[in-house]
């Protein structure tokens, strides 16, 4: 099992000592994470590592999940989608049932803790059943700054029953009656998705994916949806391909309902170009993503609608320059002209790709700067320190 001492070789000097000291102060405290599931998405990936490390430090860290019938899950999904912005249909009956199901969840779970971190929407209404002692914090991992009004009207009274809320960026937050803390997400450098791989391992994995390494690889990893703009990436690649013999790899998952139609359109557009490779991956294809990012020459994250977009940090950790859209968390990860570029258009992405391909020395320099930037700002060690500081601050 990986322990906190294992991070000394990857974290900035001194950070593990800070973690150990904070751990001493928090020994015996109970920290309860409540989420809607144990799989899928960055928050769950990080909790899988963070909870055992906290336990290793002597903190009584517990991770519980909520559950219910199909209608409960459907409402949770619709509610979160509506909080992200798009119009969705939410009926009073569905929302009442959602709250009722969480009342049942509350009876099944032990909610006593010094700090309860409630992640995202599915368990959010459990705060109604909070015990008299302990501090409760709602941890929102997505951008809910422009929600559908009805969805926010439903959720806001619950959020205001917490002691505080956490958002990944100030721009992701709404006006609330409780303090709003800012804690950026992180990647785990020792996980399957980010650990070191030998060139032979990379070559083997790329071989199984049917991807050659005989020419520079431009890579985008992300969902096949309009928010991640894979079609825009194809158009940028076409502008670059006139001048450079490169290969485009689009790897991702079918995470949402528009996925199949976007994928069909991509396949159609790629039909006559053998250097456009589209790979649909399962949600747990961590080592494949790791190998693809390590094999890439330049990584794109050309999103047009914002999430935090930790794929940029993952790629920078592997020493790759990143060209990303100017949305969500990407401008906060990519240091312009130092670790990559943020762009506003297909043409901007193509221009920066050509710029890097024409100045190869920049690729290595930006890659090295990106890795150091991630080491300081986006590793799980920093995330752990932030949560521990929050626990100390709220308990004081």
């Amino acid at each position: 099992m990986i322990g906190v001492e294992d991070y000394r070789r990857v974290a900035p000097p001194g950070v593990v000592d800070i973690i150990l000291t904070l751990g001493e102060r928090l020994r015996g405290r109970r920290l309860l994470h409540l989420s809607g599931g144990r799989f899928g998405g960055g928050p769950a990936e990080i909790l899988h590592t963070m909870v055992p490390i906290m336990t290793d430090l002597g903190i009584e860290a517990v991770w519980e999940i909520t559950g219910g019938d199909p209608a409960f899950y459907a409402t949770a999904t619709t509610l979160e989608a509506a909080l992200r912005g798009p119009e969705r249909v939410l009926t009073d009956e569905a929302l009442d049932h959602f709250v009722d199901m969480n009342r049942v969840n509350a009876k099944k779970l032990s909610l006593e803790a010094d700090l309860v971190l409630v992640h995202d929407v599915q368990p959010a209404t459990l705060v109604q059943q909070r015990p008299a002692s302990g501090r409760w914090v709602w941890r929102c991992h997505f951008d809910c700054s422009r929600p559908q009004r009805r969805a926010w009207s439903f959720l806001r009274p619950f959020v205001n029953q917490y002691d505080a809320a956490i958002f990944s960026l100030p721009a992701f937050a709404r006006r609330l009656g409780v303090p709003k803390y800012i804690i950026q997400p992180s990647i785990d450098p020792l996980s399957e998705k980010n650990r070191d791989l030998s060139p032979r391992e990379v070559a083997t994995i790329l071989g199984t994916l049917g991807i050659g390494q005989d020419k520079p690889i431009l890579l985008q990893v992300g969902s096949f949806n309009s928010a991640d703009d894979p079609l825009g990436v194809v158009n940028a690649y076409r502008l670059v391909k006139k001048h450079y013999d490169v290969r485009l790899v689009l790897a991702g998952t079918l995470a949402d309902p528009e996925g199949p139609s976007v994928l069909d359109e991509l396949r159609e557009s790629a039909q006559r170009d053998p250097d456009i490779l589209i790979r649909e991956l399962p949600p747990d294809a961590h080592i494949q993503i790791n190998a693809l990012q390590r094999a890439a020459t330049i990584v794109l994250q050309k999103s047009v609608r914002g999430s935090f977009g930790l794929g940029a940090a993952e790629a920078m950790w592997k020493g790759k320059p990143v060209i990303g859209g100017f949305v969500g968390g990407l401008p906060h990860q990519i240091v312009y002209d130092v670790t990559g570029y943020t762009v506003h258009s297909v043409e901007g992405a193509a221009f920066r790709l050509r710029h890097l391909l024409n100045n190869r020395e920049l690729i290595a320099r930006m890659g090295a700067a990106g890795r150091e930037h991630v080491r300081r700002s986006f590793l799980i060690t920093r995330h752990l320190v932030d949560y521990m500081a929050l626990l100390i601050h709220l308990a004081s």
Partner: protein
């Protein structure tokens, strides 16, 4: 240099817990208005606190207001005028706030239109809560101090050189004060006190203190 200190020096690092406020600015006029009404802790966060977050790989602007004017408003003139405001020269945060507001006001009266964010990011005012973390055993000699300083988390440099002076009222900074009062080495203390922490980064400050300490250790060994 085996002189033992009367009191050991205990390195203290910190963790900065950021808190978003309900104040934001989309143009320079709003920046001025919000700057005049936010809590003093927010002024501290965006000026002195900049040194804790600033990384050597990025361009130094000295404070978040100047960095925003340059990167998101594309107003290099305002960025330059804000960047030269050295927060360490002001004895109170209200004096610093007044100076920053005055710079923005003087800039605005010379403009025919107010620069605003078009493709960049809105400015979100924040403040922070600093959680102090005691690090390692105390140093009792200059050599032990040197060893500790070389290995300690960069946040300790911020705590002892920036936070101690600006928020805790220890104007000399903790390193100089301890070397002067506990090791009774006033010359070295004075040199460390004179280190300019403005427009640099914490690692460079660490390197400068180490260089001065090394010279003192070599001088005593010769």
């Amino acid at each position: 240099m085996n002189r033992r200190a009367k009191h050991p020096f205990v390195f203290t690092g910190c963790v900065e817990l950021r808190q978003a406020l309900d104040h934001r600015a989309t143009d320079e006029r709003e920046l001025l208005e919000r700057l005049e009404e936010v809590p003093a802790g927010s002024v501290f966060y965006h000026t002195h606190g900049y040194f804790l977050r600033h990384r050597p790989i990025t361009t130094a602007y000295g404070n978040d207001f100047a960095a925003w004017a340059a990167a998101h408003l594309r107003d290099q003139v305002l960025a330059e005028r804000l960047a030269v405001v050295n927060p360490f020269e002001f004895s109170t945060l209200e004096d610093l706030r007044e100076e920053l507001a005055s710079v923005i006001h003087d800039h605005l009266v010379r403009l025919s239109s107010v620069p605003r964010v078009e493709l960049g990011e809105v400015f979100y005012f924040q403040q922070s809560h600093v959680v102090e973390v005691t690090l390692g055993p105390g140093a009792e000699t200059l050599a032990e101090f040197r060893t500790g300083l070389a290995a300690v988390d960069a946040s300790a440099i911020y705590m002892h050189m920036v936070e101690a002076r600006a928020r805790l009222g220890r104007r000399a900074g903790d390193f100089a004060e301890w070397i002067r009062s506990s090791l009774e080495m006033p010359e070295l203390a004075e040199k460390i006190e004179r280190i300019d922490t403005y427009m640099t980064n914490l690692e460079k400050v660490r390197a400068r203190v180490l260089t001065l300490v090394d010279s003192a250790l070599e001088g005593s060994a010769a």
